[in-house]
Symmetry: C2
Subunit: 191 residues, 2 copies
């Protein structure tokens, strides 16, 4: 596990520099996962107890509403993915996580992580800062859903590399809060 953690530590360093004791303790809660395209990383109805770091691949969080497959979130390599609305309150999630490419992940076991919080305040701080950043991202996304047009949201998404090239448009449409037909109209109007 040692060397494969290096990439994860570089990710953590962006938020907070852990001392060696904290790193060693944290490593014990981590394990590696290889998972194929289209497979579910986490099923529906499951209470989320894992935080995943994506070494390679793409994850999406999705759920069904009125029989329709709605994508709530995409996560790419070098990012964290977790269903916080299940993880934090300890409630079952009505959402699942699926991989959109063959992926290489590091799983962080959260009950083990929470035990470390008491002994290693640095670890608690690290994850506080990581989730604070996720909170800010969600507030900004909410603002764009609340008062930007679908076309504005699509143009914002185009600015981010990889998204359009690597994710089917049907998922992108629902992520933007519109149907696939409506996204197709927006795209053809832009040509």
């Amino acid at each position: 596990m040692g060397s494969s953690m290096e990439e994860l530590y570089r990710y953590f360093d962006q938020f907070y520099l852990l001392n060696q004791a904290s790193r060693d303790a944290l490593e014990k809660t981590c394990s590696e996962i290889l998972i194929l395209k289209n497979e579910l990383l986490q099923p529906f109805g499951h209470t989320c107890k894992t935080i995943y770091y994506i070494k390679s691949g793409i994850a999406r969080i999705f759920y069904y509403k009125d029989g329709r497959d709605i994508t709530e979130y995409f996560a790419f390599e070098n990012k964290i993915v977790a269903r916080v609305e299940s993880l934090f309150p300890g409630q079952p999630s009505k959402k699942a996580i699926q991989m959109l490419e063959d992926s290489h992940l590091i799983a962080i076991h959260v009950p083990g992580l929470y035990q470390l919080y008491d002994t290693f305040p640095q670890i608690e701080r690290l994850f506080r800062l990581i989730f604070e950043a996720g909170y800010v991202e969600t507030v900004n996304r909410m603002e764009s859903l609340q008062f930007h047009t679908a076309e504005e949201r699509y143009l914002d998404l185009l600015k981010k590399p990889n998204i359009i090239q690597r994710i089917p448009l049907k998922h992108i449409a629902y992520y933007l809060g519109i149907t696939q037909v409506s996204l197709s109209r927006i795209r053809s109007a832009l040509k």
Copy 2:
């Protein structure tokens, strides 16, 4: 300040029970504020450095888009309000906080709070848990903006006490992501 903190501690107790040393330290970062209806608690363009607990009254976070006054968030008595997208990254906010009633607040000075995090891990944990709950609330709100109809969102809002009675419909409309005219149509269709 002593007795007026009791209510705040009862709020904190819902998230985490602080020991007495932490309480005493925390109290030094707090001050009381009385503010009148319609006044701005925090101006536009200001980097948020304060978390407010609302003893009485209503706050709204809002901003202007294309000259229109958009309400992003409401907070009632016995709740916390802060512009996290400014507080966490330390960036100026394009949003302001306004009180919708004469209000009684407790202001928590965040630079002072952050200093306490190193000495009192219990305080860091308390605020981690408070903001985790806020994160979950925001994820759920985002989901409702992404894929519920405006009518569904309005009916959800009706279930919460106080909102409709105490807040002008023009603010509620934009909070729901629609215009006041559209909200008025939805309301009359429900009669």
